[in-house]
């Protein structure tokens, strides 16, 4: 299935596939990142991902069971970034599963619905939880989804903006329906991720970074147990 919809916002997208398969990997780095979507149920996490990955939008998106896993590759300058996206189920009964998914994630998108104040509150608690329990270097983005319903807005842009600034989050209002800011937010995350710090000799994969992190992790428990 060709990605038929022209997402003119990012021209780089056109050659991401090519970048991934570029034979001379020396020039183009490949980074792989684990990204997790969190948020109250029915705020549009799956829609956001579906829009980003497949360029599709379903008016009646079924609610996610457990979690969904998708990948998408984007090209950023000369770097190819592969997102491993974990789209979690927002329903409260699956809450206990979330830590499994955000554990070791380099990025997270916390989604709320701008037409529902409660979801914004829930998003805040998700941010708090991430700051407390997820990897300390995690890049968190706040997405105010359903921007197409701005006339029913219950969460002011400024309010969310301020909150995001205070907590050092990326913030955008998105719309999976109109595709507004969907690719932008993923790209913004990709830019913010510390891919350049990676020693690219190690691997083109984001694995490298993960492993570096894993090394740190391995040392600490090693010290405490011995």
């Amino acid at each position: 299935m060709e990605h038929t919809e022209p997402h003119s916002t990012e021209p780089e997208m056109a050659n991401r596939q090519g970048a991934a398969q570029r034979p001379n990997g020396a020039q183009g780095k490949i980074c792989q990142f684990k990204l997790v979507l969190l948020g109250e149920s029915a705020v549009g996490k799956s829609s956001l991902v579906l829009r980003f990955v497949k360029g599709q939008f379903h008016e009646y998106q079924e609610s996610t069971i457990g979690a969904a896993f998708l990948t998408q590759t984007v090209c950023l300058d000369d770097t190819t970034v592969k997102f491993e996206i974990w789209d979690t189920a927002g329903q409260e009964r699956y809450h206990s599963l979330a830590p499994m998914y955000y554990r070791g994630a380099q990025a997270a998108i916390v989604v709320y619905d701008i037409t529902n104040q409660d979801t914004f509150g829930r998003a805040k608690t998700w941010v708090k939880e991430l700051q407390r329990q997820a990897s300390p270097t995690i890049v968190i983005a706040l997405a105010g989804n359903k921007q197409d319903l701005a006339n029913k807005r219950m969460v002011e842009y400024e309010e969310a903006q301020t909150y995001a600034e205070e907590n050092g989050l990326l913030f955008m209002e998105t719309s999976a329906k109109t595709a507004l800011n969907v690719n932008d937010i993923f790209l913004a995350i990709a830019k913010k991720l510390p891919k350049y710090d990676q020693n690219q000799g190690q691997s083109g994969q984001g694995q490298g970074r993960r492993l570096a992190e894993g090394d740190q992790g391995a040392k600490t428990p090693g010290n405490c147990c011995k």
């Binding site: 990955v53 069971i65 457990g66 990948t71 974990w86 499994m100 994969q205 993960r210 992790g217």
Partner: protein, 447 residues
Amino acid sequence: MAEANPIQEGFLCPICHKDLRSPKKLINHFQDLHSEEQDILKSIKDFYGKAKKKILKLDDQDLETFKNEITLENLYLECSEPQPPGCSTSHTDFFKSIRRERLEHQTAETNKLVIRLDKLLRLDNTDRKQQEQILVAWLDGTTVNRCPSCAATFNIARRQHHCRLCGSIMCNDCSVFLSFERAQSIVVPVQNLGITNKEGTRGRENDNFRICSHCSDMLEQRRIVQAEQMMQPIITQLYAHLQKLKSQVDSLVELYQKMYASLTSGESTFQLQDAQSLKASIGTKAETIDTISKKICSLPILEPNPKVEMLQNSIRRATSNYIKDYLLTLPPLPSIKELAAIKENRLLRVSKEDNEQNVNTVKIKRVTVTTGWSPSSLENSVQSDTESDPLMEQINIVRNYITQARSAQRFEEVVALEENLRMLKKAYRQNQLAKTEETKENNYQLQ
């Protein structure tokens, strides 16, 4: 591009992407396989990192087939998500069969005990122990070192005792004493139901059977079951009482209404005092009925059962309606003055009618009276006859009866007796008249 990005969904393990199908399994799987391993595995993976990179394409293919599997599983998952209730089996019959067996065993054992008890009771007091042992074989105590129920060792201070019903061994502390009276009542159950509900007293052995707690429990169980079978629930008892009172009140009210009708029409069959006392007694009965129904309504409900509650409430409602509609609407009695007025009216009316009807007879009577006997002489004769005249005696007796009946509030009887009395008086008067006629005749003849 699509093949690069199939969507996996379900309870995916974040490490191995396996769909575990349920949150619980996923968590278990994650904890078992990936919690500690994660860090170690990662470092191991590091070694293979480069090699892996080379076979990345292969990996992708693997992943592909894997993902296909997953989607199939997803399909399964979606189909099976809202599970309808499965088939159900009734185990009642099985349960009943087990229960029946148990109950039969229990009854047989208990009956055995009762039969033994009956035989034991028939023993005469001489040589009791020997006879008891003939009836129930006592367990050989030589090998029993400890009391089977409290595990205390037997010694000189703590001696072995035998249950007279099953022959088993226990110490004194563990034995229960069943009095002869109680044993009798167990053997002949009709006499005792609900009278003695005390467990066999612990104490002297002279007029008690020493039995073990096991046998005691069995007998006690039997007693409870029997008592339960005989006993009606409190609500039924109260309601029966209520109904009895109601029927009493019904007859009283009927009588009262009769009295009222009679009184207000000026008749003198009943007396005002009687009616008043009757009304008072109806009132007190009504009060009792009311309190009983209140009690029924406020009976504690042991197991919350809406039907019981409904029953209690509706009994209460029906009763209060009954009192309101039936008893409180009783017509008030006329006062003495009113009654007098009514009576006068009636007298007037009656005398008018009488006058119209009996003008002639009255006249004749008057003639006879004026010409005939002198009242003084008649009185004398009456006085003298009082003792001897059987009619007068009868009248007196009836009068006595009336006062008795009135004090017992048997107003129907009072009415009947008064009727009797009137008849007697009439007869007496006629008798007297005949007598005076006779004397007159005699006098006439004498003259």
